[in-house]
């Protein structure tokens, strides 16, 4: 199978990821729940992962919180800062992981910047939308549908200038683009472990630069006499037993990313995406969504063809792509593809040019059969 759905989760991982997770299942107990070797091994593994994540994403190990996924991290971040009626500015390319919690809370949502591949327009819209009284800014770093790289550094600078807390969704950028909590001055940065960090599903990270509120309460293995959760991180946000096996796998994923030259994974994915787009543009009736700056994700539509049926036909030829709305109706509304959806191709470090060529041949074959 050719797997082009890294935007959802990376399927091919470094072999060390599975090996570490397998080792952990038989050697690690629960961290913070005992002083015996198996518990301390688990504690050491978690701390090593926190330290490495802290080094990679520019924060202290204690400010790295393990979550189930990016959605879990985003919920913690949003519910720490936003209450009913609060005005929140979001980009026009946000995922439901942001949009739905904000709706659930009853926040006043102001969408800023809906023009694809136009960082100047995005920045201008954020500047206009950041009025006094804005409680938070929520911004994805890279659109999960179109690969559009938003001008995060400039938006962060604007937030710092106006003293508005910034929550960053780094779901599509962590492991690919530089993500630095302290340099951005962000309140929170949220990321999954299972996408471009190559960890197992069920892992995520929340980097904390602001005060937090709990989402779950329970055992933390610390300050057990207290009725409430501890006030300090990471214990405050980590109630219950950790996903130790997943975190041990994530550690190896982080090591894999770190072992690469900075920017090399991004360059590889962009090379694949550019090659694919060149091929797609030559196919009649295909509309390719491209521009600059764009990461290793590309969406396209084909006139008169249902995107889900097209993806189904590609699956039948051994190619895994994602079709539909990608849990991001706002991004589709911004790009004018809310009715049709798109077919999305998203690359990882493990994809090759040869796979891209085989995909192009398969697509042509599918379209000729119409």
């Amino acid at each position: 199978m050719i797997y082009f759905d890294a935007g959802a989760t990376t399927l091919q991982k470094p072999p060390t990821v599975a090996a570490a997770a397998a080792r952990a299942i038989s050697s690690c107990a629960s961290p913070g729940r005992g002083g015996y070797p198996a518990a301390m091994r688990a504690a050491d593994a978690l701390f090593a992962c926190r330290q490495l994540a802290g080094q990679m994403f520019d924060t202290e190990a204690e400010h790295v919180v393990f979550t189930m996924n990016a959605t879990h991290a985003l919920n913690l971040a949003i519910k720490s800062l936003v209450g009913p009626g609060d005005r929140v500015v979001i980009s026009g390319f946000e995922h439901n992981a942001f949009r739905r919690p904000l709706h659930h809370i009853g926040a006043e949502i102001c969408v800023a910047g809906q023009t694809l591949f136009d960082p100047e327009d995005t920045l201008r819209c954020f500047r206009e939308a950041l009025k006094p009284g804005t409680k938070a800014v929520v911004c994805t770093h890279v659109s999960n549908v179109f690969g559009y790289i938003l001008p995060l550094e400039q938006i962060a600078a604007l937030c710092r200038e106006r003293s508005v807390p910034l929550i960053v969704d780094a779901s599509q950028s962590a492991g690919v683009l530089p993500v630095r909590l302290r340099a951005l001055g962000a309140a929170f940065v949220c990321m999954p472990g299972h996408k471009s960090l190559y960890g197992p599903q069920g892992t995520g990270l929340l980097l904390c630069g602001a005060q937090t509120k709990t989402l779950l309460e329970g055992g933390s293995g610390s300050d057990s006499r207290l009725d409430d959760m501890p006030t300090y991180l990471p214990d405050r946000l980590e109630a219950g037993t950790h996903n130790v096996c997943g975190i041990c796998g994530l550690m190896e994923g982080l090591r894999f990313v770190r072992s690469r030259q900075p920017g090399s994974i991004l360059r590889h994915e962009i090379a694949l995406r550019t090659h694919l787009q060149t091929i797609l543009r030559a196919v009649p009736s295909v509309c390719v969504y491209s521009g600059e700056p764009q990461a290793g994700t590309c969406s396209f539509t084909v006139d008169g063809t249902d995107c889900e049926q097209l993806a189904q036909a590609l699956y039948a030829r051994g190619i895994a792509v994602r079709a539909g709305l990608h849990c991001a109706p706002l991004a589709h509304a911004s790009a004018g593809t809310l009715q049709s959806g798109t077919v999305r191709v998203s690359f990882s470090a493990f994809n090759t040019m040869e796979e891209t060529d085989r995909f192009a041949r398969a697509l042509r074959a599918v379209l000729q059969k119409r």
């Binding site: 504690a43 701390f47 926190r50 501890p230 214990d235």
Partner: protein, 84 residues
């Protein structure tokens, strides 16, 4: 031979302190704090050899890794709060 215990509010804080001490070539071990040294229950401590107590305290202060209290732990298990 006795040792010293430095208590921390969390396991991660103790691990972080342990990491700093290792880098400063101070032998240490992260462990559960004795119940007597854990006011709120389930505390954590970093244990260093008796000869390294003052240096460890100095390193932790220099790297801004605040510990709760420090204790002298005798071989027989007697725990005594002490200022370092």
């Amino acid at each position: 031979m006795f040792s010293y215990l430095f208590t921390f509010r969390s396991l991660t804080a103790a691990q972080s302190a342990g990491s700093i001490l290792h880098r400063a070539a101070v032998a240490c071990q992260v462990q559960r704090a004795p119940a007597q040294a854990s006011a709120q229950g389930c505390g954590y401590a970093v244990r260093v050899p008796g000869t390294e107590g003052r240096r460890a305290a100095s390193v932790l202060r220099m790297w801004q890794r605040p510990f709760g209290k420090s204790y002298r732990l005798s071989d027989g298990g007697r725990l005594e709060e002490t200022a370092l």
